[in-house]
Symmetry: C2
């Protein structure tokens, strides 16, 4: 089996991505919701059809596309029609099947309308550029994590081809979803990310009395909820879609 498909290696990648996601969320949480930056009518940009955040996100993807970010099997852009790389193509290891599965629009919708609303203080602090730059980091981290479901699914498929093939053939998505689910792993994951959020979001103030030292930059339960309500189910969506698209 390709090393990138060993379930233990995949889990380690996903675990390391938790830090990246939590850091990005803690960074964004220092600013208010700033809803104006998510609506096309909010801050009109000349010659650009979209929101302020779309403008920064697309601009970042245009740049990153030129260094071939999106030729990597674990990267998925939010925008189409990105430029070709300026660097010669790299002979990437491509251990999964190529599919056109990309649920970034859905991820962006949930991020803006659910996660930000729950995470950031309501209102407007004028920190539009800083907020948008944090949003780009957070969206890219969430997208990477969720689409890593393709690697997870391929790994699980290879470990029990026969069963998966019969479920795929029967188009039994519910049974596939049940088979890829490991409730114990999920419970441990949720417990771990809450502990990480509590640790990485801790206010550290040498002068404050001990009990005041417990302020948090982000609510650990919220991070646990984000994983439970969105990240885990969306990753499973990708896994099921991937297996259905994979076929035999």
């Amino acid at each position: 089996m390709h090393p990138n498909l060993k379930l233990e290696n995949i889990r380690n990648v996903l675990i390391r991505q938790e830090e990246t996601i939590i850091f990005a969320l803690v960074e964004r949480a220092q600013f208010k919701q700033n809803k104006i930056i998510y609506s096309s009518a909010g801050i009109p940009i000349p010659d650009f059809d979209g929101s302020f955040v779309d403008y920064i996100l697309r601009g970042t993807e245009v740049l990153h596309a030129t260094i071939r970010r999106y030729t990597s099997p674990d990267e998925h852009p939010f925008f189409k029609d990105l430029p070709d790389p300026v660097l010669p193509a790299e002979a990437y290891d491509y251990p999964i099947k190529k599919t056109d599965i990309n649920i970034n629009n859905h991820i962006k919708d949930i991020y803006i309308n659910k996660i930000l609303t729950a995470m950031c203080v309501a209102g407007d602090d004028g920190q539009y550029g800083s907020s948008a730059i944090c949003d780009v980091a957070a969206l890219q981290a969430l997208s990477k994590r969720i689409h890593y479901g393709k690697f997870v699914a391929e790994s699980k498929f290879l470990s029990d081809k026969e069963t998966y093939l019969s479920l795929i053939k029967a188009k039994d998505k519910a049974a596939i979803r049940e088979k890829i689910t490991n409730k114990n792993v999920e419970k441990r994951l949720i417990k771990r990310v809450a502990l990480k959020a509590a640790t990485y979001g801790k206010e550290i103030d040498l002068t404050a009395p001990e009990q005041e030292n417990q302020k948090q930059k982000i609510c650990p339960q919220l991070v646990a909820d984000i994983y439970e309500k969105w990240l885990i189910p969306l990753t499973k969506d990708v896994e099921v879609d991937y297996l259905m698209a994979r076929g035999c």
Copy 2:
């Protein structure tokens, strides 16, 4: 006094920037040194004169310039000849004197040749794009922190104009440097960032035995050293240069 110049508010900004800096360093530390991305000859980019990291850093600055990042008094670009904003100019509060002080070349040199060498495992893991994107975040955070010395200096100046004016007039840089130095604040800062690095860089593994749970993603003493050897002295350089350029 302008609220952005109150020393207490400035200290709070600098303290919050510590998290941003430490998160960025922890993120970069997961990859090897990847020296090839810092040399112009390393990964040649068509029609671009500079290293792979320069290409990403400049491209990011080009994008951010269009949303007027560098018209803000606390932002300083690494590159010149950036495009004009596409958005109308904002009536920024500009509570400090305008100067052309920008020590980003020096910051970049120290980051690449001192900080990265001490922080990352030697060698090449091929993670060029990911490393470079972390570098951009780290360089921007370091630059912002160090150039915030302008706000610190203006605040200190306003609190004791008479003394500063006589030192500036006498061009006594050594005496200015001594006057802006507060050894107790520095000691507390260094202690605090070491504690933050220990907390935010902690490996969290629910399944590992307690003592193995103490692995760190970044050495806390290294972060303390980065502040003591580079960030604090460079901020003071900016403060002294600012006061000399400020004049009366």
